[in-house]
């Protein structure tokens, strides 16, 4: 997988480039609109990580240009600007996802993987994982054969984890999906719900379903 990184800050760009190579992606970092155009003209990429504040132009204009030229690979916007408005604008222009600075690399990776996967995903309505069965159509949850009563939010949360078994879900990603929020919630609401889910689903102390990644998020294991 080749990822183009358009980021004006050298250290951040190089960090992402290096870190991506550590997880077996091939990253190429460029620092301006001009070099980004050249890079895309020279070779193909599977995804682009695009910073909006570039020294020689706006990343959104670049994105608009690419989309108009028929570039259909996923683009993830990386921006330091005010989250909500830039986010809406970015998604309108044709970005696939949006990540606000300062971000966690885990989060960037999780989103990137989700974007690359989205290309060929298939929909299922029933999930099963370590004795837990979730039926989206019947809206029922069973744990080792026993029906479990979940509230609407708990159900949505479990559904998100079931769809992303084994993957890291960052706090912001969860907040976006479950609460339509564009940043981490100001409260410990997510931790409260996770405690409740654990209480209901982790029937024995040795059965740990959710792994906490402090400051980052949760992972269903």
């Amino acid at each position: 997988m080749r990822i183009l990184i358009v980021e004006d800050e050298r250290k951040v760009g190089q960090f992402i480039e290096r870190s991506l190579s550590e997880v077996a992606y091939s990253g190429k970092w460029v620092s301006s609109c001009a070099t980004a155009r050249d890079a895309l003209a020279e070779s193909t990429f599977d995804a682009i990580i695009l910073d909006l504040g570039l020294p020689d132009g706006d990343g959104l204009d670049l994105l608009r240009e690419w989309r108009a030229a028929g570039f259909n690979e996923p683009v993830l916007i990386l921006s330091a600007r005010d989250a909500l408005q830039d986010r809406v604008r970015g998604l309108n222009v044709g970005a696939d996802d949006y990540l606000a600075k300062p971000f966690s690399f885990e989060e960037l990776l999780a989103r990137l993987r989700s974007l690359l996967r989205r290309q060929g995903g298939k929909k299922t309505t029933e999930f099963e994982h370590r004795g837990i069965k979730l039926d989206l159509l019947a809206r029922t949850v069973e744990c080792d054969g026993n029906p479990i009563d979940l509230t609407a939010r708990e159900f949505a949360l479990l559904e998100l984890f079931m769809q992303n078994q084994g993957r890291v879900l960052t706090r912001t990603m969860i907040a976006e999906k479950i609460w339509d929020s564009y940043s981490d919630l100001d409260t410990n609401l997510l931790d409260v719900y996770m405690r409740r889910l654990r209480k209901k689903l982790e029937s024995s102390p040795d059965k740990q379903l959710f792994k906490t990644l402090r400051g980052v998020g949760y992972q269903m294991v």
């Binding site: 951040v12 870190s19 005010d82 600075k101 300062p102 690399f105 339509d180 980052v216």
Partner: protein, 463 residues
């Protein structure tokens, strides 16, 4: 009617009325002069008649005959004229019968005609004429003149009234006409806000004062637009310059944490550093939100929707939060209200208020959430039974960086004191209000917010 319009109308009425008053006064003076001159001419004509009677072939008759003739004539013209004859030395030698005891005074200051007041005759206009060696004084009453002047005065007064009434209407119309361009400027200027600073007042090519004013205003809007642009750029730049290094610190800290083979103590320190970074990020985000909402730069996602949809969604979260802290939660909602609001931002307000209440409420305490309609407003109340606030600090809690509650309960962990300031700016964007009061009887604090129902239209962006 605006005040300048009314003032213009009043000035117009005053000027028109004053002009008419002056014109009528001048008219009266001219009329009086004309009437008196007429009397003088009549007096002279009367004298001529007497001369015709007492002269024969250009010679005066003997005095005795003259006297008889004058007496006879005075009887004929008694209703109109008074006659008095003085001899050479000025003694009165004859007075017409209609004068009874009255005496006309001697010619004052040598004028041929004069006006004099007499208690018996009233005001008269007199003329003195040489009749041989004697002086004949002929006087006519000014009563007729007075009567004419009185009716002139009445007519004038009526005219003045009519003019005043008409000038009110005319002045109002004129002031509207004059202020119409101003009103158009006003309309445009009112429309221009942070969202459409590029709109300008249309200026016609004329070089009058109003066009100059519009041009001046447009120049001001130009400067304002530039300042706003600078502010936006500043906010964006500040955000970029602060967050990019923050991103690098975060990335590197996380990497150290994951692959750095740190000791337990070092890991903990790194973890705390990460949490501080997140807190810093959240403060930057909030400050930018406050700065932008101050200048109208927050676009609301306003939708006409049922308030209970929001309340129900918050209810589940609030219940989970309260249950986790072992605090009771009570929801009371009235019939469904439809209002126009940004659901995500208002949920942020509600969760913020509930989190604040949670921090203040002792274990086994109770938090209540009320949603109801009060006249034309949707009112939401979040009430806790914590210690409440000192009465003089109740207003302060919505100011940025004020942490009254945290100071009171010694809790340093929760936030920078921006949450309630954000709540207030969100309510301001909704044309609503937020305020707090201590519960009576206490203890406890009640935070209330209100949003007008049906004021904002769906799809309108916040201004």
């Amino acid at each position: 009617m605006n005040s300048l319009g009314s003032r213009l109308t009043i000035w117009y009425v005053l000027v028109v009325t004053a002009t008419v008053v002056v014109a009528l006064c001048v008219g009266r003076w001219l009329l009086e002069r004309q009437l008196i001159r007429g009397l003088d001419l009549l007096n002279a004509a009367e004298f001529q008649e007497i001369v015709d009677r007492v002269e024969k072939n250009h010679h005066m008759m003997p005095d005795q005959e003259v006297l008889e003739r004058i007496t006879a004539h005075s009887k004929i013209d008694a209703p109109l004229y008074f006659f008095q004859l003085r001899n050479q030395s000025g003694d009165v030698v004859f007075r017409s019968a209609n004068m009874s005891d009255a005496v006309l005074p001697e010619n004052p200051k040598g004028k041929p005609n004069w006006t004099s007041d007499d208690p018996l005759l009233g005001t008269v206009r007199a003329g003195e004429f040489e009749l041989g060696s004697m002086k004949l004084q002929i006087a006519a009453s000014l009563q007729g003149v007075r009567r004419s002047l009185r009716s002139y005065f009445q007519v004038s007064l009526a005219m003045l009234g009519v003019v005043a009434v008409f000038s009110v209407f005319f002045g109002y119309w004129l002031s509207r006409l004059a202020l119409d361009p101003v009103r158009r400027i006003q309309l445009t200027a009112r429309r221009i806000s942070a969202e459409n600073l590029s709109e300008r007042i249309s200026v016609d090519s004329s070089k009058d004062e109003i066009a100059d004013l519009a041009r001046l205003l447009n120049q001001m809007f130009d400067r304002l637009e530039i300042s706003f642009e600078r502010l936006w750029r500043f906010a964006a730049d500040a955000s970029h310059e602060l967050k990019t290094p923050l991103a690098l610190i975060r990335l590197q800290s996380e990497k150290l944490l994951l692959h750095g083979q740190l000791s337990a103590g070092q890991s903990e320190a790194m973890q705390q550093q990460l949490e501080s970074i997140m807190r810093l990020d959240s403060i930057i985000e909030k400050l930018l939100f406050l700065a932008k909402s101050e200048v109208g730069g927050i676009e609301l996602n306003l939708r006409c929707q049922k308030t209970n949809d929001l309340i129900n969604a918050v209810d589940e979260d609030a219940r989970a939060l309260c249950e986790d802290s072992k605090i009771n939660f009570v929801l009371r909602k009235s019939e469904d209200i439809t209002a126009t609001f940004d659901a995500i931002l208002l949920r942020q307000v509600l969760l913020n208020l509930i989190t604040n209440a949670l921090h203040a409420t002792p274990p086994d305490g109770c938090i209540s959430l009320w949603s109801c309609r009060v006249r034309d407003r949707w009112q939401v109340i979040v009430e806790d039974n914590g210690p409440g606030l000192p009465e003089n600090r109740v207003r302060d809690i919505f100011e940025p960086f004020v942490r009254v509650r945290q100071e009171m309960i010694g809790d340093e962990s929760s936030g920078a004191g921006l949450g309630l300031a954000i709540c207030r700016s969100i309510l301001d964007l909704h044309h609503g209000a937020i305020f707090a009061e201590n519960c009576r009887p206490g203890p406890g604090l009640r935070v209330i917010f209100e949003i007008p129902i049906g004021r904002a239209k769906a799809g309108e962006s916040g201004s």
